[in-house]
């Protein structure tokens, strides 16, 4: 009967209850949206960095981290990839690479470029590079051609079929130079990648840099992100005698982690303000509900109801309202988040320019994860319960007679 009483009480003033439930619902949707947007943005940044730059785990020569030079390369053949795959069956992909910076030149222009020697199949499994080709085709291993960023091609004023000269330093100070046919152009949403990357096959890169049988690093992709650290530990153990360094992505790009942390902090501040605004909204309703019913509370206490039982009923009422708001917020939030998950917001105009300048993709992707719902739902719920302390304290301290007369 107490539950019945609480349930009916919340529908005594339908309009007020609906307004409160709606305010909680919109609060939940807002909180979910902000959290999802933040998480989506961070995921995108991490994915871009791990898929195109660092990988989730990287195997390097033990000196490479301190001195990222071709001189500090590691010996590699396909059997090494197979061996790594055998170390941990949660490894999804092994991507060998040669990384160096060179001067890239067309007929008229020259620009610094990041030159990556890759295994096209393994690289494609990592970042679907082939799907980003916008002109020409992807090269075949060892065919003497390269694929380059559309932005770099534009700067060098070259196109598919033209020649590209790469000039720089090879292993142990050897001169590295070569002329390659441009077989394709790719477009990457990140300006940084678009404007400076040149891909060629590993055999061609080994020849160019005078490093037969060597590569600079191996990127490892786990089956699932949660396996990242355990795989790294297993690799560490298995390769401990080989003068190799095993690094996880968060060790390789601490500046990104710092940036994400900073971003999270500012979002927390914003969310805190949002929670306060929402909290006052809910508190206003609970305050009205309490003051309006003081007389009723007084009467119930007069006829023999314990204060704590009355407080429990009011608590249950707040619980019902909160749960209704949160569940409806989850339902609406799921619809909104799903829509924007499949149709990310594309920025245009000045915002697009600004984000590209800053090295970010001009899209606002969303993330959908159960913990986002759990976390935001819990915060709003705890807030409602804290607000419920007001009527509880009021009931605990009210003068029965005064309340009955109010």
């Amino acid at each position: 009967m107490y539950l019945k009483l609480a349930w009916r009480n919340i529908w005594r003033n339908k309009r007020r209850t609906l307004i409160t439930v709606s305010s909680i619902m919109f609060a939940v949707v807002c909180a979910l949206f902000i959290e999802s947007l933040e998480r989506g943005g961070h995921n995108q940044m991490i994915n871009n960095m791990t898929n195109f730059h660092t990988g989730h785990i990287q195997i390097q020569d033990e000196r490479y981290e301190e001195e990222p030079s071709l001189d500090n390369s590691i010996e590699y053949d396909s059997s090494f990839s197979e061996r790594i795959l055998e170390i941990d069956d949660r490894i999804y992909n092994v991507v060998p690479r040669i990384e160096s910076f060179m001067l890239a030149a067309g007929e008229e222009q020259s620009r610094p470029a990041m030159v990556l020697g890759i295994d096209p199949e393994a690289e494609n499994r990592l970042n679907e590079l082939k799907n980003r080709i916008v002109a020409g085709r992807f090269f075949e291993p060892g065919d003497g051609s390269v694929v380059m960023g559309e932005g770099l091609a534009s700067r060098l004023n070259v196109a598919v079929g033209d020649s590209l000269v790469l000039l720089g330093q090879g292993r142990f100070g050897m001169t590295a130079s070569g002329i390659y046919e441009i077989s394709g152009l790719f477009r990457h949403p990140l300006r940084e990648f678009n404007n400076q990357i040149v891909y060629l096959s590993i055999p061609d890169a080994q020849w160019l840099f005078s490093m037969e049988g060597m590569i600079t690093n191996i990127l490892i992709t786990p089956d699932q992100l949660k396996y990242n650290d355990p795989i790294a530990e297993n690799l560490e153990r298995a390769l401990s005698d080989e003068n190799l360094n095993i690094l996880t992505w968060n060790e390789m790009i601490p500046e990104l982690i710092d940036a994400i942390e900073f971003d999270r902090m500012s979002t927390r501040v914003f969310m805190g303000i949002l929670y306060v605004v929402i909290g006052f909204g809910i508190f206003g309703t609970i305050l009205m509900m309490t003051l309006e019913r003081l007389r009723e509370f007084g009467i119930l206490l007069s006829v023999g109801m314990y204060r704590w039982k009355l407080a429990v009923i009011v608590f249950i009422e707040t619980f019902f309202i909160s749960i209704l708001g949160i569940i409806s917020g989850f339902a609406l939030g799921l619809v909104v988040l799903s829509y924007f998950y499949f149709n990310p917001i594309q920025l245009t105009g000045d915002m697009l320019e600004m984000l590209e300048e800053m090295g970010f993709e001009p899209t606002l992707p969303m993330a959908i994860a159960p913990d986002i719902f759990m976390w935001q739902g819990s915060v709003i719920f705890v807030m409602s319960i804290i607000i419920c302390l007001y009527p509880t304290v009021k009931i605990a301290t009210m003068d029965i007679l005064e309340a009955s007369r109010s």
């Binding site: 009967m1 019945k4 009483l5 009916r8 009480n9 529908w11 005594r12 007389r295 009723e296 009467i299 119930l300 206490l301 007069s302 006829v303 023999g304 109801m305 314990y306 204060r307 039982k309 029965i400 007679l401 009955s404």
Partner: protein, 244 residues
Amino acid sequence: MSESDVIDYEIENNEAKMGIISTKNLSKIYNPDTIPVHALRNVNLDFEVGEFTTVKGPSGSGKTTLLNMIGGLDKPTEGSVEIDGIQITGMKESKLIDFRLQNIGFVFQSYNLIPVFTAYENVSFIMLLQKRPKKEMEMRAKELLEAVGLKDKYHSRPKELSGGEQQRVAVARALASQPKFILADEPTANLDTKSAMNLLDMMEKMNREENVTFIFSSHDQRVIDRAKRVITMVDGAIESDETR
């Protein structure tokens, strides 16, 4: 008559005469440190089982304060209230709540039913607080509503009932806990003549047939006319105490 029979007779006779409610030197002063208001002045009264008593007097004479003291809703500045030999003055609040629940029924001027409950649920609720068995609760609630003439209104909510009907539900609710007495503060104040008379008929019948004790505070002549005992209060003191 043997000596022991005489003693038994005296005990029975004393018990019969002993009041279930007894106020001793009851005084209440509001705002004692600023502008003192003497709501009650040395009130000494005894109420017995089966009384149908009205405390009358003008507004501010202390009728409601007296009922509040007897009901344990207010604390006296001086003096005490005893119910069935138990002093309720100074009792801990949790014990007092329990005591009220088991011993006192309240009928308020403005009915004060739980608006979201039906008539039946309003009456049952008191018994739920008393933790009575469900079947007993159901049976007694129905019996009481039938007794107050609301057999066909079990499932009506307060807003669907007239003022008189709501006050009848309030009386049924007050009776539901099987209290030793019922305190009714201006029970007819918000009722039209017909409803007031019907309500008084019903309470009079319960007093007559079931020996339910009623103590009213009222300045309604209709209530005063029906009372078997009329206590008149003026300025917080008893002016007269007349048994008819």
